[in-house]
Amino acid sequence: MSDVTISHVEHRQRIWLYALAVVIAILLVAPSVLVVIMSFTASTFLEFPPRAYSLRWYRAYLDSPAWTDATYVSVVTALWTVALATPIGTAAAYGLHALGLRIRRGLIGVLMLPLFVPHILIAVGLFFAYVQLGLANTIPGLVAAHTLLALPLVVAVVTAGLSSFDRNQERAAQSLGASPLGAFMRVTLPQIRLSVLSAALFAFITSFDEGIVALFVATGETSTLTRRMFLALRDAIDPTIAAISTGLIGITVIVVAATQIVAGRDGRPAGN
């Protein structure tokens, strides 16, 4: 690694730029960090720095059936989403990878649509449709919606993993007697399992953190954690939410760390 940047300017001369970048980086992370710290406050107001520390708001969360029920709904929905989106998305990525380029591009465009349609429309539209179909306020309905949102991510991540996989190995396996499915299971899958795992983790966060669709589609008993948070926020600033937010941030950190370790690559999530 040289002392010189790509533009052949010394790193030293760029120091003001790097300092700016560090400041922006801090600004990006600071709000979450501050919320985490404030969640440990002992008072009923959120203040920084907290005058006294306590776990009372975490206890408030655990003691409230409304919150814990909502968490349960969120977890179950997220797990079902992973169970559906991962195999369906992986199969799609594999199938499209094997097809010709022209067909592939058009169909991948369709699969990526959920990323570009405003979620509010998906939420409202599915609400209308679900009411007619009797799927409103049901977990299956929510799982279907979250699977829709997670599929593009899974397809993108697995496609990226497949593109760096040497197809000759699959051919070698077939020439040695393995059927196409056998070759996939014995040779391809073991080598793209890291991509598939990352895709599954991303599908999990996508469902767990999702707010808008859950807001419209899952009410009452099937309220998710994010929905309850949203409604609570509109009414009052309850410090319990800070505790819940810390929990959500914690899960995000764990999942992202897991994907980084799993991928062993530099920090760029797929799905861009």
């Binding site: 040497d166 051919r171 070698a172 007697g177 196409p180 070759a183 080598q191």
Partner: protein, 365 residues
């Protein structure tokens, strides 16, 4: 799994292969055009040609990974052209070895045996035996990433022959190796072929390799078979200018025909070789066939050319001499370094080409 049972040790006899009217087009480009080919049981056939000529496509048609647009392929008396690759029971070695990195050497080689349901003890036996055959005894628990290029290719070979296929296909397996290793492996491969007796189809762009290893060579140019013959015949009697230019070193000089006489570089050509019936002809001159004559006096059955030396290149065991004829066309001469007279650039010399060496072939792009 629809695979024929594994024959007993050393009982494998090669499959004869018949290729009929195989055509493969990609858009408007024809990768293979109406190819006919007969391969004898146990033969070592090399498909030789430049990149893009279609030789790998033809190999992949035999393997089943490229589906032709038309035509048929027979292994023995069975039509296999519509059979998927995993049912063809052939061995295939790729250019980049394609070993499975998540398995060690033993598991790689055992892979086809496990698919065929052999017992653990027999698998261990065969793998060990095949490792011996490729001179990698004891390498069983190495990881694929720990192997050198030559070792990896030998493991790939072992994996492809451990289940004793009656047909072995190889796609430029040695081109990633350095020259010394490559020449060593060529001899090993040929020995293995003779020991095991399976039919082998070998693809390469290296004409030297083809000449060394093959029973017959099929020269492929732009999707067509230009010549299919024994190495000596391909070298000494190339079917057209493409084969002449691709196999062995040669200089090609255009030949003019007018009322029964042939002229090359302003000199009337005498030849004892048969002439092709086409109009556009070239003279094929191999560097070792040109003689440097003392005098310019005409001799019977010799074609004489006056030439000026342009450049002399030292190539270790021989000298490569580049000369220009009277009309500007260039020729290559090769002389053993020890025997060369003191030739230098600018010297005027007399070249002689015996009429029996004057090979005239049709022009082929």
């Amino acid at each position: 799994m629809d695979v024929s049972p594994v024959a007993g040790a050393n009982g494998a006899r090669g499959l004869p292969v018949k290729v009929r009217a195989i055509t493969k087009r990609y858009g408007t480009m024809a990768a293979l055009e109406d190819v006919y080919l007969d391969i004898a049981s146990g033969e070592f056939l090399t498909l030789l040609g430049p990149s893009g000529s279609g030789k790998t496509t033809l190999l992949m048609v035999l393997a089943g990974f490229v589906r032709p647009d038309a035509g048929d392929v027979h292994f023995g008396d069975r039509s296999v052209v519509r059979l998927p690759p995993h049912k063809r029971d052939i061995g295939l070695v790729f250019q980049n070895h394609a070993l499975f990195p998540h398995l060690n050497v033993f598991d790689n080689i055992a892979f086809p045996l496990r698919l065929r349901g052999l017992a653990k003890a027999e698998i261990a036996d065969r793998v060990a035996g095949t490792l011996d055959l490729v001179q990698l005894a004891g390498f069983g628990d190495r990881r694929v990433t720990q192997l050198s290029g030559g070792q990896a290719q030998r493991v790939a070979l072992a994996r492809a022959i451990v289940f004793e296929p009656r047909l072995l296909l190889m796609d430029e397996p040695l081109s990633a190796l350095d020259r010394q290793l490559r020449e060593h492996m060529q001899i090993e491969l040929r020995a293995l072929h003779e020991k095991l007796g399976m039919t082998t189809v070998y693809v390469t762009h290296d004409q030297r390799e083809a000449l060394t290893m093959s029973d017959r060579i099929g020269v492929i140019n732009r999707g067509r078979l230009a010549q299919l013959d024994r190495p000596e015949r391909v070298y000494r009697e190339p079917a057209d200018s493409f084969v002449a230019g691709f196999v062995g070193e040669s200089s090609l000089l255009p030949v003019e025909q007018s009322s029964g006489t042939l002229r090359v570089a302003g000199v009337t050509l005498r030849t004892l070789r048969p002439l092709p019936g086409t109009h556009r002809l070239v003279l094929v001159v191999r560097p070792e066939q040109l003689e440097i004559l003392e005098s310019a006096a005409p001799q019977t059955d010799y074609n004489l050319f006056r030439a000026t030396v342009r450049r002399v290149v030292f190539q270790g065991d021989s000298l490569l001499i580049n000369v220009a004829l009277g009309d500007g066309s260039e020729l290559m001469l090769r002389r053993a370094a020890a025997r060369a007279p003191g030739l230098a650039a600018g010297a005027e010399i007399n070249l002689g080409l015996h009429a029996k060496d004057a090979l005239v072939v049709a022009v082929q792009s």
